[in-house]
């Protein structure tokens, strides 16, 4: 995740903002999938998803995610949090907002066989740190 394009974009913005104490580190499913398919440096504009192969398989698995950037004691900590659930996997959590007119509940298909059953939600956390990039 550290090298995913979505994260790299947000790190660049963090530096542009002057490396403040806290920021969000979220990315949409659309951005993640688009990045996963399109080779770095190729700006395909508003439309079109590139052709397989998938460029970053971890980013592709994670898809959209939440997260934070926090600075303390000259160290910047990056955290990406992701819930790998069935609704997200099958596209329902994105579909609910893409077509809100249907009034779908985004997570209605999570834990289809119970919280401990097959295809239950798995919370993923990716963390790494670096020296304050604004002080390098």
């Amino acid at each position: 995740m550290k090298v995913s394009l979505a994260v790299q974009r947000r790190r660049e913005e963090y530096i542009q903002q002057g490396c403040p104490a806290s920021a969000s580190l979220a990315s949409s499913h659309f951005e993640a999938y688009f990045d996963s398919f399109v080779p770095k440096g190729l700006n395909a504009g508003n439309f079109g998803v590139g052709i397989i192969p998938i460029m970053n398989q971890t980013q592709f698995q994670v898809g959209g995610h939440s997260g934070s950037i926090k600075k303390a004691g000259g160290i910047v900590n990056y955290t990406v949090t992701n819930t790998a659930g069935f609704s997200s996997f099958i596209g329902r959590s994105a579909f609910a907002n893409t077509f809100p007119v249907f009034g779908l509940q985004a997570n209605a298909w999570d834990n289809p066989f119970g919280p401990q059953g097959k295809m239950h939600n798995v919370d993923q956390i990716f963390q790494w740190s670096e020296t304050d990039p604004c002080q390098k």
Partner: protein
């Protein structure tokens, strides 16, 4: 999982991904100003992005907590992202701390603009 089921499952999933992407694309800067709303189990949030680059966000929870934040926003063409500073950290569990800025994806869908807050839970400001 038997090989046949795996294959069918993969195809259904790929179709779902393609279907979602087909109905969604990156937003333009001119799409951004306006009034957005998010509704969750914990309460509601209202976000007004003004054309001049300022915004106001008002969040109220069912427990009666109200928070109002005013700040600035900018739009970046690099994957169409909205930067708001400062910004309330919101997820499906509720409203958390104020952070220096939020860096959020903005997508268009049919008839809507959505500012993504927590994609895995379908949480987004919608206009």
């Amino acid at each position: 999982m038997p090989e046949m089921s795996k294959c069918v499952f993969t195809r259904i999933w790929l179709l779902a991904v393609v279907f979602n992407l087909a109905g969604c694309w990156f937003a333009k800067e001119s799409d951004i100003p306006g009034k957005y709303t998010v509704t969750q189990n914990w309460g509601t949030g209202h976000l007004e992005l003004r054309a001049g680059g300022t915004y106001i966000e008002e969040v109220s929870t069912k427990e009666g907590l109200r928070k109002t934040v005013e700040g600035k926003w900018k739009f970046t063409d690099d994957r169409r992202r909205l930067i708001r500073s400062p910004c309330l950290n919101i997820d499906h569990k509720g409203v958390h701390e104020l952070v220096d800025y939020c860096d959020q994806s903005v997508n268009r869908s049919i008839g809507h603009i959505q500012i993504e807050l927590e994609p895995d839970f379908g949480l987004a400001y919608l206009k």
